[in-house]
Symmetry: C5
């Protein structure tokens, strides 16, 4: 978190619309990929040069420009000029610590999304920013890294299956958002497995370690949740408001995404509740265990400390201790000590101390 604000703070005081890249550089170079399609066919270019993208702009077929790596400011700037994007839009694309949001610039919709993926190596959730520009017949997507999250959509365009090639750019935008939301379920599955593991550990043998794991997960959920919450509102705006760039037939699909978004949030809330419950259970289990241990000590100590005192008494070296000279002194004292011990045991038993 500290890093995050440092970046944002770096840009403090600059006039708006000045383009600087705020965030980690997650890929070596910017890769631009253009797909142009209509119902009859697909044309694709692995464009190295941003200018090549521009040829498709005014065609009636749908153009999808996908950009991986957003640290080359020049590329973004040229694109912005050509598609006449507002300077603040470009600024927001480059600042990778945006909240998910939706802005309607009439000519185009600007959508910022967060895509989580589970980093297997570090066992952590990583969150990337994906920005979408939806124009009348084009979609531009900006990825921070080169996660192949959009591959399923690309394949559907190539294969021509489903309705994607028959519909407009807004459906493409929907398909991209849908694929991102589906990604949330994959991350949630991973978290679910982790929670299951911890739960088992909690039942079997709760350790110090378990506490840290729960806290860790709670915290990751906190960041994850923060990136999902605004998504719901965003999709709801797409659904309900009179956003002219979204056509009627696409709305029912966006309704579906909205349902999924709510389901993601629901599951996150459930996980949070489960983690809180587990934390409570952990703490009470540990405390119960300690109580049990302490009670044993208490009983043992409470019985033996007075007995040891009596034994200590007769260990004193006074010359004139008549009891020590009695014949039955020793057996009597043993009997007295045993009686005291046994009656204390009974007393504690009756008080249900053990």
């Amino acid at each position: 978190m500290a890093i995050r604000n440092k970046r944002r703070a770096k840009a403090a005081g600059l006039p708006p619309g000045i383009l600087i890249h705020v965030g980690e550089k997650k890929t070596a170079e910017t890769v631009i990929n253009v797909i142009n399609y209509d119902e009859p066919g697909v044309r694709q270019k692995e464009a190295v040069d941003i200018e090549e993208c521009f040829t498709y702009k005014n065609k009636s077929s749908i153009t999808w420009i996908n950009i991986e790596g957003i640290h080359e400011i020049d590329v973004i700037k040229k694109l912005g000029d050509y598609f006449s994007l507002h300077p603040l839009t470009l600024e927001d694309i480059l600042h990778t610590q945006q909240r998910p949001k939706l802005e309607d610039f009439e000519d185009y919709l600007f959508i910022v999304l967060k895509m989580p993926h589970f980093d297997e190596q570090n066992n952590k959730i990583k969150i990337e920013q994906i920005s979408l520009i939806l124009g009348p017949n084009f979609v531009i997507s900006f990825n921070e890294g080169k996660e192949n999250v959009f591959t399923p959509v690309r394949n559907r365009i190539y294969s021509g299956k489903g309705r994607i090639r028959k519909m407009r750019a807004d459906y493409l935008a929907y398909a991209l958002i849908d694929v991102i939301v589906d990604n949330y379920f994959i991350v949630l599955e991973n978290i679910g497995v982790k929670i299951g593991d911890i739960e088992e550990e909690l039942m079997d043998d709760p350790r110090n370690d378990t506490l840290h794991k729960i806290h860790e997960l709670k915290r990751e959920m906190m960041f994850f949740r923060k990136s999902v919450w605004p998504l719901r509102e965003l999709v709801r705006i797409l659904t309900r408001d009179d956003i002219s760039l979204i056509n009627e037939p696409t709305k029912v699909f966006i309704d579906d995404v909205y349902d999924h978004a709510i389901q993601v949030i629901d599951t996150i809330e459930t996980y949070r509740d489960m983690l809180s419950g587990m934390l409570d259970l952990y703490l009470s289990t540990i405390s119960n265990k300690t109580n049990e241990v302490m009670r044993t000590l208490t009983i043992v100590a409470t019985i033996f400390i007075p007995l040891t005192f009596i034994a200590g008494l007769y260990g004193m070296n006074f010359e004139n201790m008549p009891e020590t000279k009695w014949r039955w002194g020793y057996p009597i004292i043993i009997f007295v000590i045993s009686s005291i011990g046994v009656s204390m045991l009974f007393y504690f038993k009756r008080k249900k101390w053990f």
Copy 2:
């Protein structure tokens, strides 16, 4: 929960409307049952073949198609084609991890509900998904398993008692929803009994075990609650909005279901509060008990440790210990020790330590 998202995750990246069954297969084969009725009479078919259902579609009498087992995708697909259901509706019927929801497709209403029932064997609440399609003169209900939850409605249709045969398909839909909501009360009753048991245990003799029972129940309530909350909103929409498929005379009955839904939620909230209260009480009781035990130890130890020290002193083997040779040495020291002990007792008593 982990399983749940695995299933959903399995479908990630697929285009919408591709039908795959997400959920456990809870019954061996799909059983289709058709009841067609109007005021004069009832016609019923235990249809093996889905096509047989279609004959009733355009009649003015009411048709109720009840499908148990939703894993045979073909059946669902044919039905969807014949009744021109939206692909997303079919997808939602097959995905058994939906939240309860209501969708108005103008030609038909699509309602997803959760039906809990108490699994006596595992002592757990199981939740099944029931989907309803309400058309102008038909209702299609999809059950995951073959719980006979709708038997009372079926009997009312056969017997012709009450107003069910006199009213339209919307009243049938209401009757089905009502029977599901009534089911919640049965589950709540079971939970109520469990809570009562734990409460008694808590008063009599709180054990480690009790803690786990409370946590278990709290967690079950959490899932149960999650499946009930959206129900309220759903029924409210049925009541208030201008949903053309619900006729005026049925609305007052749906109002009644709405009251019941609120009562279910109220009871759930009350149970949650009770469980929280019981958890607090458990923890304070245990802590009180430990405190009591500890205080006894403290008093015993605090009194006897110094006394043992004194006794220890006179157990030292120095040759030159004049007190040990005094005639009244022993009695004196016994008196000193007793005095110290008794005054400490008084001191603790005055401080209300016991």
Copy 3:
């Protein structure tokens, strides 16, 4: 609570409008009492027979039918038929576990209220259901038991004091609701006294018992609060909405009831906060006390355990222990022991351990 849902569950699956009594039978037989009044005079009948009530229906004077005991379904049914009450209204009258609610059936208003009263014998709050039917010129009230809660209203009608005889049936309904809300204050007073008692106990001498008392009261407040919350909304609807059966001059009085309802809720919330505060205080007091006790043990033990060890050392029976033969061995060791003891005392004192 378990009982409650059992009752409701009993009715599960029945068609709506089938009349069965759900609740405890709180009075031996149904007593019907009719008062008919207008400005000039009052006519009263202790009607045994329900039919006798009907003679007043179409008069322009105001009729108040008060029914104590609602388990005789026949009586309720006849009344319902005569006054053309909706079957669901009758069902709700008989189900005594309703939430407070208001339903406008245009011909009449149906109001369900909860009346608490303090059961002195069991030291518990009991909650009864009172249903009101307000028609154009009649009010029907249904009580579960025969608490004489409405006596003050009856007396005001007889005496003709105040404006009750000059106003319409809506004012009578207001008067009944007002008397019920006033009852809440009486119960609150009882709770206030209880809280005061516990508070005193908490200051003087908190015991195990105190904990249970606080929990008990908290729980009772929970149920009490649950029965009051919907009341506020209910009265608010009476005030603001265009409910044709409530005339303008009565509205200002209902505003007054609304104020009282808010005040009741306010007081309940305050009591809840006070009880939570008391619970916290109890727990911290107990914990403080235990800490104090423990600290004493700790200091005593920490000082004497090492000293006892030293004494123990010189109690060993080695033949060759030169110190034991020194002339000043004993005084020296006593001095060493005292020094250690005293310096530990100073150390603990400086660390503010006591």
Copy 4:
């Protein structure tokens, strides 16, 4: 609190508008004070007789009737008749346990306010009820006691400074409300000082006593807050709604009062958060201190208990204990004991136990 409801309960069942005084009698006799002013001058009367007030009613100049002591029902009744106040208004003036509220009776506005003041002697916040009647050209204010809270307003009228003499009765009402809200800041200042004191105590030397102080203050804040919250809503209604008795030029001033009310609430919330934080800090500090003490005991006991056992062993009086006869027995055993002690110390040190 118990007292409060007893009072309210006393009035239970009475018809509305019956005037009885509910509250403590805070002043020996009712003092009536009339000020009549317009821009040119001020006329003032220390009216003993209520009738004398009435002469000013129909003048175009502004009349302010201030009544201290509200237990003389006759006075209130005459006033009510003369100014045609609604019976419920009179009832509310006399019941001193109202929530702050605003009622618009078209002819006049009825405002109930709570005025806190800090009782230096008992070190408690006392809350008095002040009711205001704002008519077209008069303001009537009812105080429970004779706190001179309105003196600054009176002085401003006499001196003619500021705009008070140039404006209408609504401005006078504003000035009175403003002076009451200013009073909240004075009380808040007192609470702030108390919080500061406790905070210092908490840093220096937290005691049992501190806990009670925090709880006490928390509780006082609870009651204080309860009397302020409705104020905000009340002032907001004055500001925004089309209340005909408040003229446009006065609205901007009431906006200002609204800001102050929000600031009071803000500060109260901040104080509550601070108190909660302090309570947490107190509890963790105490618990930390106990932990530290306990850990010392543990280390001392864990080291010396086994050593004492060894010493005890060689204190046994068996005749045949060869070690006791060895020449180096004693030094060896001393060495063994020391080694065990020192290695335990090192072990605990490495485990960071101290």
Copy 5:
């Protein structure tokens, strides 16, 4: 906090619009700085005399009057008269404990903001009040101190870069607000670093000290948050409402500020959650550590206390203790003691006590 209300309390009872300075005097003398600019050029004056400012008022170019130090009431008063500001506006400028707020006086907008900055020396967040007056072609800014927070804006005006010289006064106001909001990120960065430090400390070696640091930070966050929350609402009003002084082209920039404000609040909430999580973790870690220590004591004591008792028994000086005279007495007793010790160890091991 105590100070704060003392100040506000000082002004209690005064008529509104009486100007007194409430707050610390943060700068020796009031410095007035005037910048007048339009697209072609910039004119600047380090005005000592307030009258010099007035020459710019009616020019069509934009005038920015920046005032550092607000304790010279005369200056404020003259300015207020010349620009016809409402007396309450002037009062609010002088009272430095306002909540952030926006007031639309039609001729001008009055905006109160809080600017935090991190005081490196005291390691604390300090919060200053900045007031802005936005007129048709002028902006007046009032700073409490002389923090050079506006330098970047000044530089942009001089350099003529960006769009600031091409746009109207509303854009200047936006630029000032933006620079203040950017400042929040800098403070958040500092807090982020602090949180990171504490987190590390928590992982490595949690100490008493850590607890105080967390509490300290939590409290600072509380005040910081309080000054940010109203900001969001304020900026939202600027964005959405029909505020005539904000022109359309500026609105999109204010939207951007709104996003930033939300991001600040989001980060603050995240930090609060993190701090709460850390506090929980601290407490559980400490408690775990104590438990571990206690358990060691318990095991050691529980084993050795009975053994010491046995040794004590044979240290008694009875003459007739036959075991002491047996040949194998000593080895037997050693064996017995060892057996008891070892079996207790095993027992505890099996119970997973260590």
